[in-house]
């Protein structure tokens, strides 16, 4: 397996695991509170839609000329990656609320109980919430599978990495029958942000006509470089926050700034 292929597999695996943990929390909450069969029907329907998207768009993307593919996909990955990275830096600096699966589980369970009585048969609420949760979390994964996979003509490898991550999260979730609160979700999001931004930089620049010194080996400098940049920014912001706190003015946490899945 080459360096970029390994990067592809790791990026897809981590991104998919993070999104799967979040989707699992939603499904567990409605399933345990209301109806498992309806919740699972929602999961199955969302997975069919996502598989259709990957199967339908994948071959179309790989048919594009390589430079056009690289510059467009590199640009998309950079736009996506920089958003993941910004949020991960703010979380690491203590300026944005970290994801808490136990809290999400409690909120979803309370909403499910408040949604009205359900006695037997098909439960539309469980189906809709599970479908929406899995589809929204899965769209980001489908996007990463398609962009990484199409660029290297390895959509199958990307899909296998995504499937492996989902399987792992579901198996652990079924085993513990609880939200996976101990998964280092915020650290994984930082790594995914670094990988998306790094590959976006590499492919975007190549697609635009630039040549990286050392070719693909440049990724060995780009990935740690982006990671160091993110850690340095997080450290600076944390010191700034601690300085404010020492002077008695508490910076409010950015709890409301939340886009899909990131």
């Amino acid at each position: 397996m080459s360096g970029p292929e390994l990067g592809l597999a790791v990026s897809v695996l981590l991104a998919c695991a993070v999104e799967a943990v979040e989707a699992l929390t939603i499904v567990l909450a409605v399933g345990a509170t209301r109806s498992w069969p309806s919740a699972m029907a929602g999961v199955g329907t969302a997975l069919i839609v996502l598989a259709g998207l990957v199967a339908g768009l994948g071959p179309a993307l790989t048919a594009l000329p390589i430079d056009a593919l690289r510059v467009s996909i590199g640009g998309l990955l950079l736009i996506f990656g920089l958003q993941w990275l910004r949020k991960a830096i703010l979380r690491a600096a203590g300026l944005k609320a970290k994801h808490d699966e136990l809290e999400t589980y409690a909120l979803e369970s309370a909403a499910a109980r408040a949604a009205g009585a359900w006695h037997s048969g098909f439960d539309g609420y469980s189906f809709a919430i599970s479908f929406k949760g899995v589809l929204l979390e899965g769209l980001e994964v489908a996007f990463i599978v398609l962009t990484f996979g199409a660029n290297q003509h390895r959509i199958a490898l990307a899909a296998v990495a995504a499937g492996l991550a989902v399987l792992l999260v579901v198996l652990v979730g079924v085993a513990v029958r609880a939200p996976l609160a101990n998964v280092p979700e915020n650290t994984m999001k930082l790594i995914v942000g670094v990988m998306l931004s790094s590959f976006g930089m590499f492919w975007g620049a190549e697609g635009a006509g630039a040549s990286w010194p050392g070719g693909e080996a440049a990724l060995l400098a780009i990935v740690p470089g982006v990671l160091l940049l993110a850690l340095a920014m997080a450290r600076c912001l944390e010191r700034w926050r601690l300085g404010l706190e020492a002077r008695g003015s508490l910076p409010p946490v950015l709890a409301s700034e939340e886009a899909i899945g990131t």
Binding site: F80, I89, L90, M201, A208, I222
Partner: protein
Amino acid sequence: MRLLEAALRSASEFVVGDDWRTAVGVIATLALTAIVAQSGLAAWWVVPVGVVALLALSIRRAMRLR
């Protein structure tokens, strides 16, 4: 037609997210890279410089929103 509009809006919100300025900055950075590369000069450095600037500006904007 409304369904198509809604789908396009959702797709754009999904990709661009909550910071459209970063998306515009990425496109501008890649365009600048292409211009520098076309002129025959080394262009690989444009994207890393752009990324550092875009990330710093994006964080600054997020802090100002508070």
